[in-house]
Symmetry: C2
Subunit: 212 residues, 2 copies
Amino acid sequence: MAFDKAEISKATLNRLPAYLRYLYELDKKGVQTVSSTMIAAGLDLNPVQVRKDIAFVATSPGKPKLGYVTKELIADLENFLGYHNTRDAILVGAGGLGHAILGYDGFAKYGLNVTCAFDIDPAVIGTSINGKPVYEMSRLPELVKRFNIRLGIITVPSGSAQEVADLMVSAGIKAIWSFAAKHLNLPAGIALKHEDLAASLALLRMQLVSQD
Amino acid sequence: MAFDKAEISKATLNRLPAYLRYLYELDKKGVQTVSSTMIAAGLDLNPVQVRKDIAFVATSPGKPKLGYVTKELIADLENFLGYHNTRDAILVGAGGLGHAILGYDGFAKYGLNVTCAFDIDPAVIGTSINGKPVYEMSRLPELVKRFNIRLGIITVPSGSAQEVADLMVSAGIKAIWSFAAKHLNLPAGIALKHEDLAASLALLRMQLVSQD
DNA sequence: CTTTAATCGATAAAAATATAGCGTTTTTGG
DNA sequence: CCAAAAACGCTATATTTTTATCGATTAAAG
C-alpha cells in the first residue's frame, strides 16, 4: 500500500529537497505562509511547476492570495521524503570520499544513518571514523543481515565497484548509492543511484566552452 | 564558432562519459570495433539512443555489421568532452569533502586541474593538501585573476555558499560546481552545476520504500 | 560470387516533462 | 460592502526526450 495518486515524476522528486531547503530558510525568517510564486522566484523555476509538484505532497490545499502554510508544507515534504523514519546504511571504501561521507553528520537530517564502513586496507580496519567502526570486507554479509540493512554506499575505486556491488546484493542490500565511475550491472529489483561526477563536469565544461 | 550541428541535449551529454568509460574497458580488452548494440547492452540503454548520441560526436560513421572503431570513437568522445585541454580550477572549503576532492587525482583524466584551495580556518590556511596550497579567502580574487581561472568548486557549509559564490563571480569565475545544499543565486551567464546529494538520496529512498 | 545476418542512419511515433490559459477563490483597500 | 489584485487548481498545449520502425549498406559465411 503506497501513496501515488498518479505516480510521482522523477524530475519532481529531484526538486522537492530544494523546496524543503528553501522553506527552512523562510521559516527561520518567520515567514508564515508561502506562495508557489515566491518559491519559484527564489529557486528560478516556473510557478506552475512548483504548484504541480507541491500538489503531490501537500495534505491541505493552498489558499489563493496567500499560498501554503509554511510549517505545514515543511511537515508534508519531510514526511513525503521520509526524513523522519531513519534508514540505516553501510559504506564500503573508507578512502578519501568515504572518509568525508563518514565524517559528515548532515545526512542524519535526511533520515540516513551510516552505521559502519568496510574496507580492505589493514591500516584502516579496526579504526573508527567519526565514531563509525571500519570492518574488514568479509564481515559485510554477517552485519548486513544482522541489522537488516538495505542501503549500501559505494566509494571504492571503479575497478572494484562491481565486485562490491555484487557482494552487497548477495548480502541482501536493496538499494545502492554509488560514487564509483563505473556502470554497475545489478539484478532487477535493486535500486541504484549513480553519482557521476564526470558527467557533471562534462556538463559544466560544455557551458563554459560555449562562452569562449 | 562552435560545433553544434543542431544543439546537443543535456541528457545526451550526461551519457557520453559513461560511453567513454565503457569504451576504455573494451579497448583494454583488445576489442577493435564496437556496435551501438553492444554499448547499449553493456550500459542497459536503448541501442537507438546510443546511436543518436554517438552521431553527435563521431567524426566517421559506423559501419554496418561492425559498428565503430573503438579507438576512433574514444578519441572523438575525449575530444568532444574536452578531456585533453585541461582547465584550471580553484576550490573553496577545505573541509571533509573539499579535502577528498583535493586528494583525488582522478579529475586530471577529465581535464580538470584543481590548482589550489581557500578556507577561513586558520588551522588549514598555509598547509598543503595533496600538494595543493590552501590560502586564506582574501587572496581569492587576486589568484583567480592572475591565473585567469574560470571554474570554481564550492564545498563549504550551505550557510556560506552564496557568499562564496558571489565572491567567485566578482573575481571572474564563469562556472561553479557546487556541493553545498543550497540554491545559489547567480547572474546570467554564469554556469552552475549543483550536486544535490539530498535529492539523490530522496530518489533512492523512494525506490526503496516502494518495495516494502 | 551470392546469400545472409547484423548494423547503421533517418524518420516517425510515443512518453515524459514543462509551460500556458482560463476560471475560481480569497484577501486587501477604498 | 464591493471591486481589484493575487494566487490557486484544472485542463490543454508545447517542448523535450525516449523508443520504435524501415530501408540501405556491408562484412562474413558458404
